[in-house]
């Protein structure tokens, strides 16, 4: 089992969710986030006041999938989230030791 963490543009969330559901991934956690990489923020002026955006709004998805699903899921995220511009985001993949369903104590892949 592996955990996929994807930081994407908020405007791409619906497309990424749909793409994942289409390949059979339905369980995921979505978090509101802020951040930046090479994409810098900018400054907006309004009524004489400066409003700088250093940390841009992002969305982070977290999902745990079976090993054989990882590449498919990563590909689905990339295809749906990519615009080609700086700020598209990043994906991180890490190994998961165990998964447990709280309701009935199921463990392992069956708990996914």
């Amino acid at each position: 089992m592996q955990k996929i963490e994807a930081v994407i543009q908020p405007s791409k969330l619906d497309a990424v969710k749909d793409a994942l559901v289409e390949i059979g991934v339905e369980g995921m956690t979505i978090l509101e986030a802020r951040g930046h990489g090479r994409q810098k923020g900018h400054t907006e002026f309004y009524r004489g006041r400066e409003y700088s955006v250093d940390l841009l709004p992002k969305v982070k998805l977290e999902l745990v999938v079976k090993d054989e699903m990882v590449e498919q899921a990563v590909h689905a995220i990339i295809t749906a989230a990519r615009t080609g511009k700086i700020g598209d985001g990043k994906i991180f993949v890490s190994k998961i030791d165990e998964a447990i369903r709280i309701r009935n104590d199921e463990r392992g892949e069956i708990a996914l």
Binding site: Q9, P10, S11, L13, D14, E32, A33, R34, H42, E44, F45, Y46, R47, G48, Y51, V53, L56, P57
Partner: protein, 883 residues
């Protein structure tokens, strides 16, 4: 022993058979109240049987011990899997340890029969005491019923002990009951709107029904003790009785389905209840779905919640004086510094509750729509509540109110007073519960208790509307917590709104279309709102603003799901909000709309994104004014509407409008544009045409004249000479060179307010200045300037240029401390530098002046050097003016 066991087994078998019969009867259509009474009777028989057996086994049980049913069982109301509350009452002579086993055996027999028993053992003397930490025991004791054993001791309990206890401790018991109810309601978020409500413990549930009964009992005793009248709500009030029956039926359904004491209406249960049409009477749709069924549930729960709230209000101490401060303005009197009754015609407020005056000559104030609506405006303004009697009288008067209700500006005036009050949500909920809101706005009926069945929407559509209005009013006061910063920013936007009442009207009507199943509720809501606004007789600008906002009310949320830093997203969204006022309304509405979906829906993350989109769009609107102009062959709806007011002059109207920025036509009503057009037809007689509209707060003066140099500066100077503080202004010109300059200003010396006769002199003076008959410099030197107060907030001066905002002008934006003479100083400087003002947008936010000019010099944009020189000149002029 074996004989006893088989007797016990026999009793249990009889009981189980009876349970099956009761269940059969329920499934065949028996009422909930009948089902729980039947189970109670069956348990009586069983318990008495076990008691008799117990006495046979141990004769000590038969002396000095009484078996009493308490709690729900005492009321004769036992749901299929509810606990059975028993009280073993012991005489002082009985040694408890001698009878302990016998008592335990009876409970055990019942457990063996599949029942959950809650036994308590007490002496009579113990029942006389009230323990605040175990108030539940006293509450259960209030519903006592003889089952078996020592009758004399029971009579003592019923005739002396309990009455004495209640007499002595009614205050403490009432207080504790109110506290416990409040804590229970708070545990459920103080709302009855849950996706999967617990029908026993949630607000509006069966526990609240019991609370109503206890409150009545205790309040009656309290009234007798204090020698005051006790007004009892008829226990057989139809709506309440129907609600109790419905909830009882549903709880029986839940118990039988789950086969345990589980009172949660989970989603699957809702589906099953809808399919079985549980509790539905009368007309219903062909196919009853869960959303429809839950709507019925919420209506009943609301009726119970209303009753328990009334009951608690009746016994609770009066609210603090600060909440009633608003009443001082409406005629309250202060006695020794404390606000006492506030009286208005037809009603007064006593101890935070509205009390209607008695009927006089057969005229009940409750029948007078004017009185009733002023009651609710008072509630909205001060947070006071409606007294029980007043509520009943208003409820009964609805048919008469309907007959006498006057529509039009009078109704709008009342509605405005209610909507803009700080406690509007409270007043509106009460009006809705009484049916009064639907009387005024029948379109609201479609969303009464309407359920949106998904995991995200917490509230029914009507409650969502009220929560939205509460959220907007919440922006008026400082908040704490994670949202404090955003509440402050959006609160600032709310304070800038010229017509906040329109925002609240938008909030009230925006989802009325959800009652129609057409798929596009925004358009349906527009249709509903049109008929409402027609009845209120709002003018076309106000109607246009509200209807446009309703139509677009989902657009900002939709834009937030796109890339808000993409110029195209901002441009597309800006196309949907024609004016800065519309943008502010939609922004505030969206903030509150998100918050009203679910308590956790509005996060600082979402608020920040909303803010970003708002300022980007506001800047876009200001920067696109110059380029977006009315064309020569304009066929817009506005052109048609103006032309309709001037029959036979369409060509002249189109010619007049050609070249004006779109902003001009979008921010004026057709009637105003007609007036300006008519003013141009008078140029031959007098080229300087002025229109003055006085208002106690902000007055307005519009100049329509052929363009010439220093026009704007001269007008600004003429106003400054009279001590007028310009709040906002705009200046537009058309292709023919006609300018329309509008100034909105406050009268620093209150000259116009205190001297109506000076209005004519004021306009004449400005006219003389504009025609050159009077020297402005002379006028300025002869008049005193408004005394300058030390600023509370220091504003840093900025002058910025934007070459890209317009294709043919340079945008100059000046942010500075708002002081008198500023606008004149700026416009004179622009003129001195050879700049022609194409468009001016002047605004004030607190102590900040925000002035935007689109300028050209010799028919072209300003180059960098010209910008540098102009900036220097403007800064010097502002410095000079400030001194």
């Amino acid at each position: 022993m074996q004989g006893n066991e088989s007797k016990g087994g026999g009793l249990r078998e009889v009981y189980q058979r009876k349970m099956l019969e009761i269940r059969g009867a329920f499934e065949a259509g028996a009422l909930g109240v009948a089902t729980i009474a039947a189970r109670s009777a069956a348990v009586d028989e069983l318990v008495r049987g076990f008691w008799a057996q117990g006495v046979e086994r141990d004769s000590r049980l038969g002396v000095g011990i009484t078996l009493v049913a308490v709690g729900g069982y005492g009321r004769g109301q036992l749901f299929p899997y509810s606990d059975v509350d028993l009280l073993f009452l012991l005489d002082t002579k009985v040694v408890e340890k001698d009878v302990k086993d016998a008592i335990r055996r009876i409970s055990q027999e019942m457990w063996d029969g599949g029942m959950r028993v809650s036994p308590a053992t007490r002496r009579l003397a113990e029942c006389e005491k009230f323990d605040g930490d175990n108030a539940e025991f006293t509450m259960s004791l209030m519903d006592h019923r003889y089952l078996a054993g020592d009758t004399a001791m029971y009579e003592k309990l019923a005739g002396q002990t309990v009455p004495k206890l209640l007499q002595k401790e009614h205050k403490a018991i009432l207080g504790r009951l109110v506290e416990l109810t409040g804590a229970r309601h708070a545990k459920y978020g103080d709302t009855l709107f849950h996706l999967e409500p617990n029908i026993k413990d949630c607000p509006g549930g069966l526990r609240d029904v019991h609370v109503c009964g206890w409150l009545t009992k205790l309040e009656k005793i309290a009234a007798a003790a204090q020698k005051r009248a006790f007004i009892e709500i008829a226990e057989d009030a139809k709506e309440f009785v129907q609600a109790v029956e419905f909830l009882s039926l549903v709880r029986c359904f839940l118990h039988y389905r789950n086969e345990r004491d589980d009172n949660t209406l989970a989603w699957q249960v809702q589906d099953a209840a809808a399919e079985a049409e549980v509790g539905l009477v009368g007309r219903r749709p062909k196919k009853v779905d869960a959303a429809y069924w839950m709507r019925i549930y919420f209506r009943h729960a609301r009726s119970v919640e209303r009753r328990v709230t009334q009951g608690i209000e009746q016994v609770r101490p009066a609210p603090k004086v600060s909440k009633l401060a608003g009443l001082v303005r409406s005629g309250g009197t202060k006695v020794r510094g404390r606000l006492v009754d506030a009286t208005q015609e037809g009603f007064k407020v006593e101890q935070g509750r509205v009390v209607l005056e008695d009927s006089a000559d057969g005229d009940d104030p409750a029948n007078d729509p004017d009185v009733v609506l002023r009651v609710f405006a008072t509630m909205a303004r001060t947070g006071c509540s409606l007294g029980r009697e007043a509520e009943e009288r208003v409820s009964e008067a609805l048919p008469l109110l309907s007959a006498h209700l006057e529509e039009g500006p009078a109704l709008w005036h009342h509605l405005k007073g209610i909507l803009t009050g700080e406690y509007a949500g409270r007043a509106l909920r009460t009006m809705h519960a009484l049916g009064l809101l639907e009387l005024l706005i029948p379109e609201f009926h479609g969303i009464d208790a309407l359920v949106i069945r998904d995991a995200y929407h917490r509230y029914t559509v009507d409650e969502h509307t009220f929560v939205l209005i509460d959220t907007l009013h919440g922006l008026e006061t400082p908040q704490s917590g994670g949202m404090a910063e955003w509440a402050q920013r959006f609160g600032g936007v709310l304070r800038e709104l010229p017509h906040p009442e329109l925002l609240y009207l938008l909030a009230l009507l925006h989802d009325t279309g959800k009652g129609r199943e057409t798929g596009n509720h925004a358009l349906e809501s527009v249709r509903m709102a049109k008929s409402v606004l027609g009845r209120l007789e709002l003018d076309s600008y106000e109607s246009g603003l509200v209807l446009g906002s309703i139509e677009q009310h989902l657009e900002m949320s939709a834009a937030l799901r796109r890339d808000i830093f993409d110029a195209e997203t901002v441009r597309a969204f800006a196309g949907k909000v024609p004016t800065p006022e519309a943008l502010k309304m939609l922004t505030l509405f969206t903030y509150a709309d998100i918050n009203a979906v679910h308590p956790d829906a509005l996060t600082p993350w979402k608020a920040e994104n909303l803010w970003r989109l708002y300022i980007a769009t506001a800047n876009y609107l200001d920067r696109s004014v110059d380029d977006e102009r009315v064309g020569a062959r304009a066929e817009s709806e506005l052109v048609h509407r103006v032309s309709a007011l001037l029959p036979g002059q369409k060509a002249e109207v189109v010619k007049y409008l050609e070249g004006f920025p779109e902003r001009y036509v979008r921010t004026r009503t057709p009637e105003q544009i007609r007036q300006h057009f008519k003013m141009t037809t008078q140029f031959a007689a007098d080229p300087v045409q002025l229109e003055f509209r006085y208002a106690p707060g902000v007055s307005e003066l519009t100049l329509v004249t052929p363009d010439r140099a220093v026009l704007f500066a001269t007008m600004a100077g003429a106003l400054a000479a009279w001590g007028m503080n310009i709040v906002t202004a705009d200046a537009f010109s058309n292709r023919q060179g006609v300018v329309v300059d509008t100034f909105r200003f406050m009268d620093s010396f209150k000259t116009l307010e205190m001297n109506a006769s000076e209005h004519g002199a004021f306009v004449a003076s400005v006219h003389d200045v504009m025609t050159g008959n009077v020297s402005l410099e002379k006028l300025l030197s002869g008049r005193r300037r408004a005394r300058r107060k030390a600023p509370k907030v220091l504003v840093e001066t900025r002058v910025d240029f934007d070459d890209a905002a317009s294709s043919h002008s340079t945008l100059v934006e000046v942010i500075a401390q708002d002081v008198s003479g500023l606008l004149r100083a700026l416009s004179l400087t622009l003129a001195a530098q050879g700049c022609n003002i194409e468009v001016a947008l002047v605004d004030t936010e607190g102590e900040t002046a925000i002035d935007v000019f689109y300028v050209r010099r010799d028919g072209a944009k300003l180059d960098k050097e010209e910008q540098r020189v102009l900036k220097q000149a403007l800064l010097e002029a502002m410095d000079e003016n400030a001194r």
